[in-house]
């Protein structure tokens, strides 16, 4: 299959402008500046590009929400927070092909009428940040950023904003708060950022991979983009495989690709001759799949939903048959308890409480009532809070307890 996002990853010095250009980098700009901004939005809409940050929202449609002539500046913020456990793809785009991202930023900003863009990078990503910073500087020097880009009359400034260690800043409105110099507390929606976003102005937030997918669409057109993937989930996506496989890593595959092939062919199957037990398909918050599901599920938004899960960010965590599911859920509960921003009581209290119960069960002090209690905590967190971090723990609680009921029962009745 043709690689679109990763085609330069193995090229020597792929992060440098010279090399990027030799590989065809920035060629889409000539086409871009021939088009009207609305045409760009329409092309991305027709290509069917869906957000790669987790929710899968149609990118072109989101862009079309920017009000025309609001009289306010418009911003693009690129989400490089990459904090959903199991996800490690944006980092490689930043490290190995930062110019692809910049090319996409130029197209997206041109489409929505933004002249300033911030790339929000998680604080720990120091090396990827340096790579992007150097690429931005190269782009300025080559007239690809700044005033009057390639004599198009279009001006664009791109800045990096470095986070400082907070998972919640990946949530788009927390990210905006963080750029504004505040704690990363998600905002109540509506209003949506496309209307009231950064500094009170219309703002689009997109994931790194979403933006990096745009140059291909501009350069090759809708039909080419749709040549792979499915009708409703066109194009390719990066899948990050971690856990108990022989060859973990990043794999660019067309949407609709069988999960089974990804795990057993591309990743060489389960390590150490063990058997597959379960898969978390799209980052830590997505409902778990068991070995049966893996037989039939495809890596696209619709098939995942039909199997009771979600494609999410593409972070595939593979668990072998020695994995203790109570321990796995306890690990995630601790994560969400640590990362809750604390604004909403169901989330602040619920995540911590669930973590405590699971810890107690793991230490051999489980009680028969614990399972009911966990379920009621999950019920009381879901859909009741400002952002979906609380739901991100509810979904694993429900699905792990449903699919691996026996294991949880054993821990809830340690003396039986």
């Amino acid at each position: 299959m043709e690689q679109r996002l990763t085609k330069n990853f193995k090229v020597k010095d792929s992060h440098r402008l010279e090399v990027s250009r030799a590989q065809g980098g920035y060629q889409s700009l000539a086409k871009l500046f021939q088009m009207k901004p609305e045409e760009v939005i329409n092309q991305v809409k027709e290509a069917g590009l869906r957000g790669r940050g987790g929710a899968g929202f149609a990118a072109g449609l989101k862009w079309s929400f920017i009000p025309k002539n609001s009289g306010k500046p418009v911003y693009l913020t690129v989400n490089a927070d990459e904090s959903e456990p199991g996800t490690f793809k944006d980092r490689y785009i930043l490290e190995l092909d930062p110019h692809l991202l910049i090319e996409g930023i130029i197209a997206a900003c041109y489409a929505i009428g933004a002249h300033v863009s911030y790339v929000y990078i998680r604080g720990e990503f120091y090396f990827p940040m340096q790579r992007l910073q150097a690429a931005i500087e190269e782009a300025y020097q080559a007239g690809l950023l700044g005033k009057n880009i390639l004599n198009s009359g279009f001006d664009l400034e791109v800045y990096i904003h470095r986070g400082a260690g907070a998972y919640i800043c990946g949530e788009e409105t927390a990210l905006l708060e963080s750029i504004e110099g505040k704690r990363g507390h998600p905002r109540l929606k509506p209003p949506y950022p496309a209307i009231v976003g950064l500094f009170g102005c219309p703002t689009i937030i997109n994931n790194v991979e979403t933006i990096a997918s745009v140059p291909y669409i501009i350069q090759n057109g809708v039909q080419a983009y749709r040549a792979v993937g499915t009708q409703k989930s066109p194009g390719t996506k990066l899948f990050c495989v971690s856990g108990h496989v022989v060859r973990p890593g990043n794999y660019e595959r067309p949407l609709g690709y069988p999960l089974k092939n990804l795990i057993f062919e591309d990743c060489g199957g389960i390590r150490g001759g063990k058997k597959l037990k379960a898969v978390i398909p799209g980052g830590s918050s997505t409902p778990i799949l068991d070995a049966n599901d893996v037989e039939t599920v495809l890596l696209d938004y619709e098939s995942m939903e039909a199997h009771g899960s979600m494609l999410g960010s593409g972070g595939v965590i593979v668990l072998d048959d020695t994995t203790n599911m109570v321990d796995a859920l306890g690990n995630l509960a601790r994560f969400y308890a640590h990362e809750s921003c604390g604004q909403c009581s169901p989330c602040r209290e619920g995540t911590g409480w669930a973590a405590k119960i699971l810890d107690r069960m793991l230490s051999g002090e489980g009680r028969p009532k614990d399972l009911e209690l966990l379920r009621s905590i999950a019920d009381n967190m879901a859909g009741k809070t400002i952002c979906v971090l609380a739901d991100s723990l509810s979904m694993p609680i429900w699905s792990y307890m449903k699919k691996f009921r026996g294991e949880f029962e054993a821990y809830a009745n340690p003396n039986h």
Binding site: E124, A164, G165, G181, S284
Partner: protein
């Protein structure tokens, strides 16, 4: 008393120009403070509050929210081990235990010579190359006990 060095003050002035409101320069300003002194003292918070015309409480609120901002000095080598699921599946607990033993400190502590500090953190976006840790700004991936020993040797 805390003050930016003239070099950092110039850098701060440059940063201000990136944003249409002053307060947005808060996180970058705090990063500069931490680069200068290794942590963010009360005095530095007051100084930054003054530079950005925000209440000191707002600065404090931000410093305490973000885990990468330190209010106290950390070791010369600050080791952060990822403890989240993908790394745990591949043995991060044994890496942490080994570090505790080798360094003779617990989580959140600093060695008496001030060289090393150790903490556990959540997912660092390196799950495919776990177990892993970060030493200051640098990632070390696909760790084994032997590899950890080698890294410690090299840092000594």
């Amino acid at each position: 008393m805390f003050e930016f060095t003239s070099e950092n003050l110039a850098e701060f002035q440059k940063i201000l120009q990136r944003y249409s409101i002053k307060r947005a320069a808060l996180l970058p300003a705090l990063w500069l403070v931490q680069k200068q002194t290794g942590f963010i003292s009360r005095e530095a918070m007051l100084y930054v509050a003054g530079l950005l015309d925000v209440a000191p409480a707002k600065v404090y609120e931000v410093v305490t929210f973000y885990t990468m901002f330190h209010q106290k000095p950390v070791g010369e080598y600050h080791i952060q081990v990822c403890r989240t699921l993908s790394c745990q599946l591949l043995g991060s607990p044994s890496i942490t235990e080994h570090l505790k033993k080798r360094l003779g400190i617990g989580l959140g502590e600093i060695t008496t010579d001030g060289r090393f500090s150790l903490v556990e953190v959540e997912c660092l976006g390196s799950c495919g190359t776990g177990p892993m840790f970060q030493v200051n700004d640098e990632y070390h991936e696909n760790l084994t006990i032997e590899k950890v020993d080698k890294i410690l040797e090299e840092l000594k």
